[in-house]
Amino acid sequence: MSIPTQLKYSKSHEWVKPEADGTVTIGITHHAQELLGDMVFIELPEVGRNLKQKEECAVAESVKAAADVYSPISGEVIAVNSPLVDEPGKINEDAYSSWLFKMKPSNVAELDGLMDAAAYTELVENEDH
């Protein structure tokens, strides 16, 4: 599967979509779900929680393993994708539409520090070898 070019990526395999209104939407990448296998449990952060960049904020568990989700940037959680909790398998079907939570960034400069699709593609390819 190709890596969407309009998104930004973290080293810990979260994707970040900058929205027109200045907020960002966050999920885990296709590569991450592929490594984990069938997803069976999702725990989302609380709305209103203030997160620091790289802070543990959600949990994604598959049949195989539990993985922490780290906040790719600092900011406040303004929405979570609650229906996903009952259908974690949606992440396996389409990781890039199955968002986990939305944030209001507190330091927009952090977005520039994230990888673009080309850099993330390289990271994934290096991991595979």
Binding site: G37, D38, V40, F41, E43, V59, E61, V63, K64, A66, V85, G89, N92
Partner: protein, 363 residues
């Protein structure tokens, strides 16, 4: 360099996700572990279990040797083809391995052992043989492969593919086996479903695998094998027991024969061992997933206790998390315990396992 079964290239051709399983390059899944799990519960699936080792022991009075070697009583094996599940113990009562013994004749028994323990098992058997029965011949059969076909439609699919097998195997009860040409077919498995395990020459394995696939038997990987066996309440060596644990605290008292006068390795230790812990089933009440090594905590009659999950995971059939846990014997079925999952304590109910048998949840 990882070890490979005779089906390794077949798995790769089928786009399996391969993993290092105790030094073996094995298929974890072929796309979706959940789909493979459901397929076995509802229809049929097949597993490459050729990493497990068949060990043939041949010679006069094999039975006498096995009476001493293993904790279950091989005298229960009266009809040729009959199989017996047993532990092989250290003198201290620790579990060297769990295995299945097939009685083929009074001069030939076959023992199927786990992959990860195969080398030490064979070394142990040879050591005992040298002391007690040097006339016996012990042959590890790496020339054989093993395919498990499991699910409600498993037997019918095997009959469709192996000519003449139906008449020779349809009367087999659970834990019985029969030879069909070069195939050794046993009505055994590790899923809680009906089915066969077939031991056959390594070179024939890819042909049988493809023939089964052609009649609609889906391949299933080690991932599904683990969730199926956990639902079926079957122990996994290295997780639910090992050499530091004895059978009575591992849910395996039913496989140990302490009543007969027969002496076996580990018996004296077991007779002296106080049973302080036992293995119970847990069903998670709160949301989350139980995993092995998580701590079980709580209070009973004002006394704090601790236990540990030995195998935990998500049950696809029950759509909730289940586990096997070793807890003090004071904790009994119906109790509620807490399990520490990351920074939280989640509630779980103590239940009698198996959790699932023949496609149906029992809890």
């Amino acid at each position: 360099m990882l070890k490979m079964t005779p089906l390794n290239h077949v798995h790769r051709d089928m786009n399996a996700k391969m993993v290092d399983f105790g030094g073996w390059d094995m298929p974890l899944h072929y796309g979706s572990q959940l789909d493979e799990h459901h397929k076995v519960r509802q229809d049929v699936g097949m597993f490459d279990v050729s990493h497990m080792l068949s060990v043939d022991i041949r010679g006069p009075q094999v039975r006498d040797f096995l009476r001493h070697l293993v904790a279950n009583n091989v005298d229960k094996l009266t009809l040729p083809g009959k199989a017996l599940y047993s532990c092989m113990l250290t003198p201290q009562g620790g579990i060297i391995d769990d295995l299945i013994i097939y009685f083929l004749s009074e001069t030939w028994f076959r023992i199927v052992v786990n992959a990860g323990t195969a080398d030490k098992d064979v070394a142990w058997m040879i050591k005992q043989r040298d002391e007690l029965a040097p006339h016996l011949e012990i042959s590890p059969r790496r020339d054989l492969a093993m395919i498990a076909i499991q699910g409600p439609n498993a037997r019918a699919k095997v009959w469709q593919v192996i000519p003449g097998s139906q008449s020779l195997t349809e009367e087999l009860k659970q834990f019985q086996s029969a030879a069909v040409g070069q195939y050794f077919i046993a009505r055994t498995g590790y899923t809680g479903e009906d089915g066969f395990e077939i031991i056959l020459p390594a070179a024939d394995a890819p042909v049988l695998w493809k023939a089964l696939h052609d009649v609609g038997v889906s391949p299933a990987g080690l991932g599904a094998r683990d969730t199926l066996r956990l639902e079926a309440g079957m122990n996994l060596y290295g997780q639910d027991m090992d050499e530091t644990k004895h059978p009575l605290e591992s849910g395996l008292a039913w496989t140990v024969d302490l009543k007969s006068e027969r002496d076996f390795i580990g018996k004296q230790a077991l007779l002296k061992m106080p049973a302080t812990h036992h293995l119970v089933g847990l069903v998670l009440i709160d949301r989350g997933v139980l995993r092995s090594h998580q701590h079980v905590v709580g209070q009973k009659d004002g006394v704090e206790y601790q236990g540990e999950i030995t195998s935990g995971g998500f049950s696809p059939t029950m759509n909730q998390s289940i586990a096997l846990a070793r807890v003090p014997v004071q904790i009994v079925i119906g109790d509620e315990v807490n399990v520490i999952v990351r920074d939280k304590q989640l509630r779980a109910k103590v239940v009698k396992y198996p959790f699932v048998r023949n496609g149906k949840a029992l809890i």
